[in-house]
Symmetry: C2
Subunit: 283 residues, 2 copies
DNA sequence: CCCCTTGATACCGGTGCGGTATCAGGCCTG
DNA sequence: CAGGCCTGATACCGCACCGGTATCAAGGGG
């Protein structure tokens, strides 16, 4: 009765994302007719209409939208089986730690150095990723553990160990009037006409409204900051963001930022215990 | 190159659990030779030895043990796709709440009554389960939300909303000397020769050592308590455990027990918001 | 020593997946 | 209004692969 195959899930996800059988089939490198048939079989087996075949296109039903979200999770879980099993089979299993490019290197270096002193230490590969990409890498088994920042990163579903908590600073061009201040408030930095705060895409890919430039990657943002075109509020320890021609001014009422080690709830590699233990005992 | 099918995962889990190709094949309702071949193909595709075929039996390699744990999670995720999709397609989607049999009915009733008053309320089915069974039901999509007790239940990977916090009481036969006490300590109840505390199985199915009787279900325990053969420390509100011929004595230094609403991190049904909202605003 | 039990190998047949060819309906365009 | 063409659905076919039966190879025990 039940027992879907991952092939069916992959096919459905392709159609649900493309909302077009032809393009989905192309993406899957199969012909369109077998794909149509497979989706029909899937709907028949579930007893659920997943797609509304309107003239000129395909739309998701509410059940289809649920299935899309769940299917993505399940496919990630299947990928994780392969990745984690392969990793566990390596001669020296090691750990993969992922972090945003541009996060505080010093803290990470201190953690890794301290961990390397342990007798049970294993190799730790560091995998840099885009902003917010850590969750996905943990979920599909590409990484074992991540360095994340609360409240910037979403922590749901992850177990965590706190590394440090710190205030935030505003990064201002040295020539700007604000650079002479010794302290700032969020209200002051949120409304600087000639230095609007950059806007990041939301989860659905759209941008919130506002005057600031739209950015998608750390390097885009770095360029704008270096050009003196935008204002940045970041944890005080993010030295990678601080150039000689800029000034870091504490923002006294910005929320504290906590740097944490995070890993998926559930099964965890044995070697992770040592790293977490090191993290919790880091001065 | 990669892209496992759930069939392969099911086959591997069967063999890894039975540690015997013949029995695993029987469980899967197929013959033994295709199963041997499928596992060999799996190992070849992964490039990993999962099983050590010793004469007289099969043993898991470390990579195989990792794969078993990950495969169970992945298969649960695939089951969850089916269950949640079917549930989302129902005419009136509703919610499934799971709780241990014997937990405080009153609180749950108050919660459900308050929720039913909301204009956006949907039907809530209550699914009773064994001790600790809530996690599995949430993971494989059989339930949307669970009533759990911290620190009794493991909460990793779940999002939660606190319902209430309370002290614990010891349930003692009325004729027992301890029944005349107005308060007790953990030290006092942990070593009562004629009323040893019952032992629950650990996650691997074995029992911790100790003098108390071994129990596996709530009803076994209930019988022992009713017979006056064991002593019980439970949250004060668990009225289902309190008979006229027993006395509830507060245990002053027992850890506080928090009753929480818990649901899997990740996608959640729209209707869940209302229930969580009701829970957080419950007096 | 023989037999039984273990998992692996050999071979064969049927199911079902994926391919090509084609159809059915709606929208544009000329 | 007719003809393209775009959509997804249907028809049919071949082959890969899954699963079945029969058998083998290797130990361990009575």
């Amino acid at each position: 009765m039940d027992g879907l195959e991952t092939r069916e899930l992959r096919y459905f996800v392709a159609v649900a994302e493309e909302l077009h059988f032809g393009r989905a089939a192309e993406r899957l490198a199969i012909a369109q007719p077998p794909l149509s048939r497979a989706i029909q079989q899937l709907e028949r087996r579930l007893g659920v209409t997943l797609l509304e075949r309107d003239r000129r296109g395909v739309a998701l039903t509410p059940a289809g939208a649920t299935m899309l979200a769940e299917a993505r999770l399940a496919l990630d879980a299947v990928d994780a089986v392969v990745r984690r099993t392969r990793r566990a089979a390596a001669p020296t299993p090691g750990l993969v730690l992922t972090t945003k490019a541009g996060a505080s290197h010093e803290l990470l270096k201190r953690l890794l150095d301290a961990y390397a002193q342990r007798p049970d230490a294993v190799d730790v590969d560091v995998l840099l990723c885009e902003v917010g990409g850590q969750r996905g890498l943990l979920r599909d088994g590409s990484a074992d553990v991540a360095l994340v920042h609360s409240p910037y990163d979403v922590l749901t579903g992850l177990e965590t160990a706190t590394l440090q908590t710190e205030g935030q600073v505003a990064i201002v061009p040295g020539a700007h009037p604000l650079a002479r201040r010794t302290r700032l408030t969020l209200a002051e930095v949120s409304d600087v006409p000639d230095l609007p705060i950059a806007r990041w895409p939301r989860h659905d890919g759209t941008y919130p409204p506002g005057p600031g430039p739209e950015v998608r990657t750390q390097s885009q943002l770095a360029q704008l900051v270096a050009l003196g075109r935008t204002l940045l509020v970041i944890p005080g320890s993010s030295r990678a963001w601080q150039w000689p021609e800029h000034v870091a001014v504490p923002v006294v009422d910005a929320p504290e930022v906590t740097t944490l080690l995070a890993w998926p709830a559930g099964v965890r590699p044995a070697a992770l215990e040592g790293l977490v233990d090191t993290a919790t005992h880091l001065a």
